[in-house]
């Protein structure tokens, strides 16, 4: 006995003595349970202190300490549970550190019986009392330590003699009870640990085999428990570990044969040797298979720890029980895949393990392959279901198996066909599923032009399919799978199977959508990979299969897009995908894509005009991508640069009377962007527009949109040709009013005199003769002898001419908005045409009646139309000048009537608008706050002014003008200027009159006789 032990002995002696005394006194009712517990605690503390130094306890000391403890164990029934628990803990220390492996078999057996009793009651009298939780767990802990300590010598050879089997069996039963029915996780875990230790400690196979079925079934029960109370994950983990251990120990290939034998001989051995043994093995294998099947749901357990444990189980079984449990292998292989496919950091490592296992055994690969096939075949059905997690799992499994097989360089050619078919079916199912809850497509009211101005720079598409969050999982899964398929080195044939253009073209609806979607997933960025490969292989300039596929899908997409949006409104998702294809192609071909714009650009822009906001957004993104890829600074310059292609496409569309609403929108946008440079190329297009107008004039929406095109054309031309008009406008104006001089007066008087002296004299007009002579003007103006022969009309001018001459026939349209539009169009078109008089005057002649009708029409009573008509007429007068004089004269009554009408309306309006204010203020007010009727009136006033200034009026009309506008001369400078020019004298007269001065007839002037003038 060395010094340490002596020291330990000294330390232990007092608490031991104390304990036995207390125990005795307690027996004699002389000590309370408290004292006992106190003593036990002291002992425990001392023990703990002692074992801090290694090797201090030996079996002798242990026996010494055990003696007082045995008192306790003897009377466990009467002692407080806490005391027993403490005693057990002390015992555990003793077993673990004292006896260790030197525990004598007898003592061991006794301890086993004792502990089993404590943990679960007696073998004969089962469940006499409820086991206390703490006590139970302490007992199990102790058991575990016992098994641990007594590894080989005691359990294997010594204890478990054939007659001892019942004891062991009982112990196992207690442990299993603890595991299955333990009141708390702690107890269960302790029981599991004990069982675990027992299994690893036991050396007698026979004994283990005897208890094996029980253990497996109990563990299975725990693992597959479906009732509400879920066992804690630690219990599950431990159970799985235990199960792994026992399976490997009992029925591993080595075990089934003979442990010493090499594995290679194992099979032969099984068959050659022991028939009884093999029948047992077969029966057990069946049972185990069922047990394993029962615990399979655990592979989806949410705790990674549990899955990790399950993984270990699978791996161990596959590695060690390859033959004995051959029936279970496929199941477990599947499970491995499933476990690997559940993404988490822990499990990435598992993949390596899995790969290792598979690499070692080709037959496993076959299993994986066949389960992959099954999964693929089942996939469409899964996708139809509502269970999202199931979908995700299915996809993940397929994905993982693909990866695994790929790592093993397995050729999957045999799977290709079914893969392609089922993938397509799956996507179809997924689409159908997701479109069940179809949301109304958001409408977009944005015009194409506006869209371009927004300059959205987005370069990525928002997914059109699987928008709903619920189906997003399915989508990402499918996408991932597609990604993987793409990465497969041998995937070309598979891809060709999936990207099957025949399938694309022959299918329809969701199926077609699915095919296109899948193709896109596969083709996206495909060439990037390809080129990287080719770099190293130094292949000839590649026109590889990828590109070929892409080309095929691209041409299909163009076909889809070529169809008018008008026809398949509800197939917008297909169109959106087609747009994506175009974008991909553009990305791949970069600058080389430019010639493709011949066919591709218009369809994109056409979708910009769509009512469907999502499709519109898609088109915008596609346009951005295309302009990026083709090296254009922005989409506007892309359009400007390719306006010829667009004009061609639109013209061909319109030529076939394709009256989709997008075409005019695109045209307007093009025209606005390109300006007048584009106009000469649009002549046939305008022709088509008019022939469509002729056929469809009953459809106001369409007609309006077409007129917006014409409007845009005219406006752009007008913008570019303004200076020309200014230079040209000084030609055929009426002469300005010249104040009547003395000489004139004299001649007038002279003629007057002549007239009066003549017998058949006509009454001279009461006001002085106007200075301008209409007839003279007329005769002198048209010839223009000095002007050179007019140059032939440019294409632009011809175009505007034809627009101007064809448009007025549509003025009879019932839609006020359209009438307004046409009048505005005329207003901007007329100035352009003035440069060529010969061409313009006939137009002016035809325009006057149709336009003026709009002004006169009192039924119409639409101030905006009146306004526009007046403006158009003003412009017409301004441009045509005195050419229109006779027409104005003919229509004068109508004009006056119209003026009175609008004046009346204006006044009524202003009265209703503000009854408080006086009329004077009203009119003086700035026009900004005015109503529509005021504006209309103002325009008519403008028309009258223009008529006076540019067309010239006869004297009768002049009177009327003064009558109508005279009162305005005080307020408005423009009116005053014009009236002054017309006849300053009359103006003066009116002003005087307004001032209220009475004009007195001069009394005497020599030689002159004044007549009475009624003013």
């Amino acid at each position: 006995m060395d010094e340490v032990r002596v020291k330990a002995f000294r330390a232990l002696k007092p608490p031991c003595v104390e304990l036995s005394q207390v125990a005795l006194r307690y027996k004699g009712k002389k000590a309370t349970g408290k004292d006992l517990i106190k003593a036990l605690e002291d002992l425990q503390e001392t023990l703990r202190a002692v074992i801090k130094q290694a090797n201090t306890l030996d079996s002798k000391l242990a026996e010494y300490v055990f003696f007082p403890l045995s008192h306790i164990f003897r009377d466990t029934k009467d002692l407080p549970i806490r005391a027993v628990e403490l005693a057990l803990q002390c015992l555990q220390i003793l077993v673990a550190h004292g006896w260790q492996s030197q525990l004598s078999p007898d003592l061991g057996k006794q301890l086993l019986i004792l502990l089993t009793f404590l943990a679960g009651g007696s073998a004969t009298d089962a469940k006499v009392k409820d086991i206390n939780e703490e006590l139970g767990s302490a007992a199990f802990d102790c058991l575990a330590t016992l098994f641990e300590a007594s590894r080989d010598p005691f359990l294997g050879d010594n204890i478990i003699q054939s007659h001892d089997v019942p004891i062991l069996g009982h112990a196992v039963a207690v442990m299993l009870d603890g595991i299955t029915d333990g009141p708390s996780a702690k107890v269960r875990l302790a029981a599991l640990a004990a069982l675990n230790n027992m299994i690893s400690g036991i050396a007698d196979d026979e004994a283990l085999k005897n208890v094996f079925p029980g253990i497996v079934s109990s563990l299975t029960k725990v693992l597959s428990s479906k009732n509400g109370a879920k066992p804690s994950y630690r219990v599950l983990t431990a159970s799985l570990a235990t199960l792994t251990k026992i399976l490997c120990k009992v029925i591993s290939d080595d075990e089934a044969g003979e442990s010493s034998e090499a594995q290679a001989d194992a099979v032969a051995f099984i068959e050659a040797k022991e028939d009884g043994e093999s029948s047992w093995a077969t029966a057990t294998a069946g049972q185990v298979r069922m047990a394993l099947a029962n615990i399979l749901p655990l592979r989806y357990h949410e705790r990674p720890e549990v899955r990790a444990a399950f993984f270990k189980l699978c791996v161990s079984v596959i590695e060690q029980c390859r033959k004995s449990l051959s029936q279970s292998i496929p199941m477990l292989t599947d499970t491995l895949i499933v476990l690997c496919s559940q993404a988490s950091e822990i499990e990435t490592a598992n993949i390596f393990t899995l790969n290792g296992i598979l690499a070692a055994d080709a037959s496993l690969l076959e299993i994986v392959k066949s389960s992959l096939h099954d999964w693929i075949v089942a996939l469409p059905r899964v996708m139809q279901s509502n269970d999202d997690t199931r979908k995700r799992k299915a996809l993940e499994q397929i994905s993982t198996s693909f990866r695994v097989l790929q790592n093993q360089d397995i050729r999957l050619d045999t799977l290709n066909d079914s893969m392609a078919v089922n993938l397509r079916a799956s996507v179809t199912a997924a689409i159908q599923d997701s479109s069940k809850a179809i949301r109304p497509v958001p409408e977009s009211s944005l015009e194409v032009t506006q869209l371009l101005q927004f300059r959205s720079r987005s370069l990525s598409f928002t997914p059109v399919l699987f928008n709903e969050s619920s189906s997003r999982i399915a989508m990402t899964g499918l996408q991932k799978l597609a990604e993987q398929l793409k990465a497969l080195p041998t995937s070309i044939s598979l891809q060709q199977g999936i990207v099957n253009v025949n399938a694309l073209r022959s299918t329809s609806g969701d199926e077609q959508l699915a095919s296109l979607w899948l193709s896109l997933q596969l083709l996206n960025d495909a060439s990037v990979d390809a080129s990287a490969v080719d770099q190293y292989l130094n292949l000839p300039p590649e026109y590889d299969a990828h590109e070929q596929l892409l080309d095929e899908v691209y041409s299909f997409s163009l076909d889809v897009l070529a169809k008018s949006t008008f026809e398949d409104e509800d197939r917008w998702r297909l169109q959106a995908l087609a747009l994506e294809t175009v974008a991909i192609q553009a990305r791949n071909q970069k600058y080389d894509f430019r010639p493709e714009l011949v066919d591709a650009l218009y369809p994109i822009l056409e979708r910009l005009g769509s009512n469907n906001a999502a499709l519109q957004q898609h088109a915008m993104t596609c346009l951005n991508i295309v302009s990026n890829s083709c090296d254009y600074p922005d989409s506007a310059s892309l359009i400007v640069d390719n306006a010829d292609y667009l004009a061609n496409a639109v013209a061909l569309k319109l030529n076939t009377f394709d009256i989709s609403p997008e075409a005019p929108q695109v045209l307007v946008m093009m025209i606005r962007l390109c300006g007048s440079a584009l106009i000469p190329y649009l002549d046939d297009l305008v022709e088509s527009v008019f022939s469509i107008l002729a056929c469809y004039h009953g459809y106001p929406k369409l007609v309006e949109s077409l007129f917006s095109v014409l409007n845009a054309i005219v406006e752009e031309v007008a913008k570019s040709s303004t200076p020309l008009i200014e230079a040209n406008s000084e030609n055929n104006r009426p002469r300005a009013y010249q104040p009547t001089g003395i000489a004139d007066l004299a001649s007038i008087l002279h003629t007057n005199l002549e007239q009066t002296t003549r017998p058949l004299s006509q009454l001279a007009p009461s006001p002085p003769e106007p200075t301008l002579d209409q007839d003279e003007e007329q005769s002198s103006s048209p010839p223009r002898p000095s002007s050179p022969p007019p140059a032939p009309l440019s294409k632009t001018d011809t175009l505007i001419t034809s627009i101007t001459s064809l448009t007025p026939s549509h003025l009879t349209t019932p839609s006020p908005a359209l009438r307004l539009g046409i009048l505005t169009l005329l207003t901007s078109a007329l100035p352009i045409l003035t440069s060529n008089t010969d061409n313009f005057l006939p137009i002016a002649a035809t325009l006057w009646p149709v336009t003026s009708i709009r002004l006169y029409d009192s039924k119409e009573n639409e101030p905006s139309t009146t306004l526009a008509a007046a403006n158009a007429l003003s412009i017409l007068c301004k441009c045509a000048g005195d050419f229109l004089a006779s027409r104005v004269e003919d229509d004068w009554d109508q004009v006056c009537k119209s003026y009175r009408r609008v004046e009346k309306e204006m006044k009524e309006e202003s009265r209703t608008q503000s009854k408080v204010k006086g009329k004077e203020n009203e009119i003086a007010k700035a026009s900004t706050g005015r109503g529509m009727r005021w504006k209309a009136w103002n325009a008519v006033v403008g028309l009258l002014l223009v008529t006076v200034r540019d067309v010239g009026v006869t004297s009768e009309i002049e009177d009327g003008i003064f009558e109508m506008l005279g009162w305005l001369a005080f307020e408005r400078e423009d009116v005053r200027d014009v009236l002054e020019m017309l006849n300053a004298d009359t103006l003066w007269l009116i002003e005087e009159k307004a001032r209220g001065e009475v004009l007195v007839k001069p009394h005497t002037l020599e030689g002159v006789h004044f007549r009475d003038v009624k003013l």
């Binding site: 000839p540 300039p541 026109y543 071909q589 080389d592 894509f593 430019r594 010639p595 493709e596 011949v598 010829d644 292609y645 004009a647 061609n648 013209a651 061909l652 030529n655 076939t656 440079a677 000469p680 190329y681 002549d683 046939d684 022709e687 294409k795």
Partner: protein, 419 residues
């Protein structure tokens, strides 16, 4: 072909840019370029892959009557300003030339392609020139020089005579000498020459001519020293002949006129002792008067005419049955051209075509590539199996499309991908 259930054919593209009516069309550079010529004297060379102009210049002060190509890089234009010009226009020359289309051009650009030859010819007749490769053995020294310069082989140009508008002059290029002359017929009043076609094989020269009176005649010269013999004469039309084209098989030729008839004639190469009286093979009354711009496709299977009624019609080369009516233009059409199509080797017709020289049809509508071009085309076809970049593929596609183009009064050229 065009059956009742099909929607009316639509052109694949419209080339806009001429402001005057189109008078002549011609495919060149293995169908990579299309030359269009208008009544103001403008020539535009279009890249058919991009459908955009690569060279625009004003070649003549007056209307262009005909356009042709000589080798791959030479362009022959024939204008009413009494000139026949030969321009050098290689692919690299395109870079320096103007690309502003006549519609946009304020005034003619002074950038012109290099001018190689100029002949002063008669253009009173509106008759475009006809050309073919000169089969005459060359003087050794000249040939050497020509080879050195990497020149295309010499050609013969047939145009109406300068003074005698019923006669025909034949010039040789590059020497610019008058090689032969055919006088106006003394017995028949033929009026002016309206359309010409010429074919030469070693020392033999064959000329087909159409006249104002509706006559058409074939002249053959078997020896440079001998005079031209009139081997065939017929009057299938009551109105002036408008266009004329030799079948690629070189056995027959077809004429159109201002009346509604289309007539197919024999194209004898020599006096046959068996059959002294040659007859018109077939006259088809089409009921559509005023068809011009006749052009044969290089395989001889179809030919097309441009109608004054704004329709382009496609006829079977064998039966002269109407196969398709293409309607897009609003105004009358004046010219058509076919892109040369891949020679099918099993086809006897095209075999012959590639063996011998290819005759130039009446030029404004000539669709036949000269022999060098055909050979180059064949070579291209062989290479096309090893397809190159996207760009090359696209060019390839544009070249191999079976284009039929038509030019009209409205200054537009419609491209149709049919047959």
């Amino acid at each position: 072909m065009s059956s009742a259930c099909l929607p009316p054919a639509q052109p694949a593209f419209i080339l806009r840019g001429h402001s005057a009516q189109i008078h002549a069309l011609h495919f060149t550079k293995n169908n990579a370029r299309l030359l269009t010529a208008d009544a103001d004297g403008w020539i535009v060379s279009w890249n058919l892959a991009f459908k955009r102009p690569v060279a625009v210049w004003k070649a003549h002060g007056n209307a262009v009557l005909g356009v042709g190509s000589w080798g791959t890089d030479r362009i022959i234009t024939h204008g009413r300003d009494d000139r026949l010009l030969v321009w050098e226009l290689g692919v690299e020359d395109e870079n320096i030339l103007d690309k502003t289309l006549p519609v946009d051009a304020v005034e003619a650009s002074n950038k012109l392609p290099w001018l190689l030859h100029m002949l002063t010819v008669n253009t009173l007749n509106f008759c475009p020139f006809a050309m073919c490769r000169d089969g005459m053995p060359q003087v050794l020294s000249t040939q050497k020089v020509l080879k050195d310069n990497n020149m295309p082989e010499p050609i013969l140009i047939a145009v109406p005579n300068n003074i005698d508008s019923g006669g025909i002059d034949i010039y040789q290029l590059p020497t610019q000498t008058r090689a032969a002359n055919i006088g106006a017929d003394r017995d028949i009043t033929t009026g002016m020459v309206m359309a010409l076609s010429i074919l030469a094989d070693s020392t033999r020269i064959q000329v087909a001519a159409g006249y104002e009176s509706g006559h058409t005649m074939v002249f053959v010269q078997n020896d440079p020293a001998a005079a031209f013999q009139k081997l065939y004469s017929a009057r299938p039309h009551t109105q002036p002949v408008l266009s004329l084209s030799i079948d690629p098989s070189k056995d027959t030729y077809v004429t159109t006129s201002a009346d509604a008839n289309i007539a197919k004639h024999p194209f004898p190469s020599g006096k046959s002792i068996w059959n002294t009286e040659l007859k018109t093979i077939k006259v088809t009354p089409t009921k559509h008067s005023g068809q011009q711009g006749l052009s044969y496709r290089s395989d001889g299977k179809v030919f097309a005419t441009a109608g004054w009624d704004s329709h382009v019609r496609v006829y079977s080369g064998k039966t002269m049955k109407e196969l398709a009516v293409l309607k897009w233009h609003k105004g009358g059409c004046y010219a058509t051209a076919f892109a040369a199509i891949k020679p099918v080797t099993s086809n006897v017709t095209s075999d012959q075509a590639s063996e011998g020289q290819i005759g130039r049809s009446v030029v404004p509508c000539s669709n036949q590539a000269s022999e060098e071009e055909t050979e180059a085309l064949v070579k291209m076809e062989e290479q096309s199996s090893a397809v190159g970049t996207v760009q090359q593929r696209r060019d390839e596609k544009a070249r191999n499309t079976h284009w039929l183009v038509a030019g009209a009064k409205d200054g537009k050229v419609s491209l149709w991908a049919i047959y």
